[in-house]
């Protein structure tokens, strides 16, 4: 496995092996990221593909190789935000697909995976703008100012959306917990 410096140097030279190594190293991490910002698994795969192409195109602008993961996250965030801005003006497709990875059929994995899956389901049940704000603020640590600028809204509006998102998420988690308790 190549180290980060070799991978970056290879990607700068458009070496396909280095590009594949970068994908193999960060693909799963970035896919988790894409799933949080997408309406479906198919959308997330599209975002992942476009994101990696963007990363390969602009890797020359990466100044500090130790910041590779953070820089990639920022590229993916910008891409997700750009998609959000586009789709929020156009028609919104209702997705009928579960976001569960159908290829994961191991029992041990699924018992661990269920918890995160439940959390993920709760997150996905939020309206898209709520989900976007809570993702950006709580998980990706952007400030309200940055969120407001990215979404083209005001700081107070961003705070308001975050508050509503937290309230709704709590309710959803409660419902999920009650469902789990009922099952037991």
């Amino acid at each position: 496995m190549l180290n980060n410096d070799d991978i970056i140097a290879g990607c700068v030279n458009k070496d396909r092996i280095a590009q594949k190594s970068l994908y193999e190293k960060y693909g799963a991490k970035m896919f988790g990221f894409c799933l949080r910002y997408s309406n479906s698994r198919a959308d997330a795969q599209d975002l992942l593909q476009d994101g990696f192409i963007k990363v390969f195109d602009s890797i020359t602008s990466l100044k500090d190789p130790s910041q590779l993961e953070g820089w990639m996250s920022r590229v993916f965030i910008n891409l997700a935000l750009s998609r959000f801005r586009k789709t929020s003006r156009g028609p919104i497709h209702v997705d009928v697909v579960d976001v569960v990875d159908e290829t994961t059929d191991s029992v041990e994995v699924s018992s661990d995976f269920m918890e995160i899956e439940e959390v993920f389901q709760c997150l996905m049940s939020l309206p898209e703008n709520y989900r976007m704000v809570i993702n950006l603020y709580a998980i990706d640590k952007l400030s309200h100012k940055e969120i407001a600028e990215s979404l083209g809204t005001t700081i107070s509006n961003s705070k308001s959306l975050l508050h509503r998102a937290r309230v709704l998420l709590k309710e959803l988690v409660e419902q999920q917990r009650n469902k789990d308790t009922g099952k037991q």
Partner: protein
């Protein structure tokens, strides 16, 4: 999820953020196994497209350099090969003029006329002097001078023609003193060269030319028809295109309204080739609910998407031919030394032909399908904007280059199809024009 976590969750907003962050810290689900192949193929396409654009750019630069060199060569050639046809014309008395003619041969003399106004003045003086002058000249000089006088007389007569004045005015603004001399001696404007029948400046010009363009297709959904088209169609079509060319030949007839403004009617034939390569798996439309309004191609709105569909992997070449009748405005604005800026605005009615049977992507299912001419309009309207430079080689002939951009005003698919695709092209065109005398 345990109770402790939930209790913590209820306590404070800060904790819900922290809890959420922890939950997703190691969230690394595996993407689809074939995804790297899609990225790999997309990178390949991107590289090919970028190479293709560089080829076009290089070809454009080469064409420009060759054209400029051809113009320069042509100009130089004209200067070297042309011989004075008008004897020395001086703004002096007839007697002095005769004496001067006897001293020097016509071919060795440099004309002393430095501008058009002086030329006109001297022409009038000469014309008046002609009858008595002939008696004082040697026989060979007499013939030569008679020819010259005839030329001047011809030109004098032309001045009464308003259109000629326009033409002279246009030329005199384009020329400096040195080239004004050339006009007299060399003949870009010597339309009465020798003993030819006097020529009238024509208002009609024939123009022929060719375009070397880069082309492309613009895709968008008809308003309110967004749900009829697969959510990834526009991206897929765009990234799938890798080789696009548009060659066009044209012929036109220009009618000059004034020195600077003309109208044009023409005939053109264009072949627009688009090559596309696709290799991907995409999500499939989940439900296509009938009962709502279908578009002109019989599609109903999409509600939701299923998982990944079958692999789409094909390469196709589509050719859209267009027989066009362009009409519009062409300008000739003098710039410097025989060069004019020539803007052009044309609208055209285009008879559209498609390569029926060629493979393309269905805009609802994203599966490949054969193109059918029934899905396309027979006629589409187009707009062409161009601006460039024209070099007048002499009174009759001119060559020029223009940067052109053209686009379809009406979409290619039949009316009320959800997808509106329009072709565009941009590039360099070269033309030759011949003024009918």
């Amino acid at each position: 999820m345990n109770n402790k976590e939930t209790r913590t969750l209820e306590n404070s907003n800060r904790h819900i953020d922290k809890w959420l962050n922890q939950q997703f810290e190691d969230f690394t689900p595996n993407p689809d196994a074939g995804l790297w192949q899609s990225i790999d193929a997309a990178l390949d396409r991107k590289e090919r497209r970028s190479k293709f654009i560089w080829y076009w750019l290089a070809a454009g630069v080469l064409l420009s350099v060759l054209s400029v060199a051809a113009v320069q060569w042509s100009l130089k050639n004209t200067n070297q090969s042309a011989k004075p046809t008008v004897a020395q014309i001086q703004t002096e008395s007839p007697a002095e003029s005769t004496a001067s003619n006897q001293k020097a041969s016509p071919s060795s003399e440099t004309p002393s006329i430095s501008n058009t106004e002086a030329l006109n003045k001297s022409a009038r003086v000469l014309r008046k002097a002609t009858p008595t002058d002939h008696l004082n000249r040697a026989p060979e000089q007499s013939v030569s001078n008679a020819v010259d006088d005839l030329q001047v007389a011809d030109r004098d007569a032309y001045e009464t023609d308003a259109r000629t004045k326009d033409f002279i005015a246009q030329w005199s603004t384009q020329t400096d003193d040195a080239t004004a001399d050339q006009i007299v001696t060399l003949g870009p404007l010597s339309w009465s060269k020798g003993l030819r029948k006097p020529l009238m400046p024509g208002r009609w010009t024939v123009e022929v030319g060719a375009d070397a363009n880069q082309t492309g297709l613009m895709y968008r959904a008809k308003s309110d028809y967004g749900n009829y088209i697969h959510k990834n169609y526009f991206d897929r079509m765009k990234t799938g295109e890798f080789a696009l060319s548009a060659s066009r030949i044209q012929a036109g007839l220009l009618f000059q309204l004034s020195a600077k403004h003309s109208v044009k009617l023409g005939l053109a034939y264009a072949e627009n080739r688009t090559q596309q390569r696709f290799d991907f798996r995409d999500s499939m439309p989940a439900t296509v609910i009938q009962g709502q309004t279908s578009d002109a191609l019989g599609y109903y709105p999409i509600f939701g998407y299923l998982g990944l569909g079958p692999q789409v992997s094909f390469q196709s070449q589509n050719t859209y031919t267009m027989l066009s009748i362009p009409m519009g405005y062409t300008g000739h604005f003098p710039w410097k030394k025989g060069l004019s800026i020539t803007p052009e605005i044309l609208v055209s009615a285009n008879r559209l032909g498609i390569s029926a049977g060629a493979q393309t992507l269905d805009y609802q299912t994203l599966l490949q399908k054969a193109q059918s001419s029934e899905q396309f309009r027979a006629w589409v309207m187009g707009l062409r904007l161009a601006v460039g430079v024209e070099k007048r080689l002499n009174y009759s002939h001119a060559i020029g280059l223009r940067l052109n951009a053209q686009s379809m005003l009406s979409p290619m698919y039949v009316p009320n199809a959800a997808l509106e695709s329009r072709g565009w092209s941009a590039g360099l065109s070269a033309h030759y024009s011949w003024r009918i005398q």
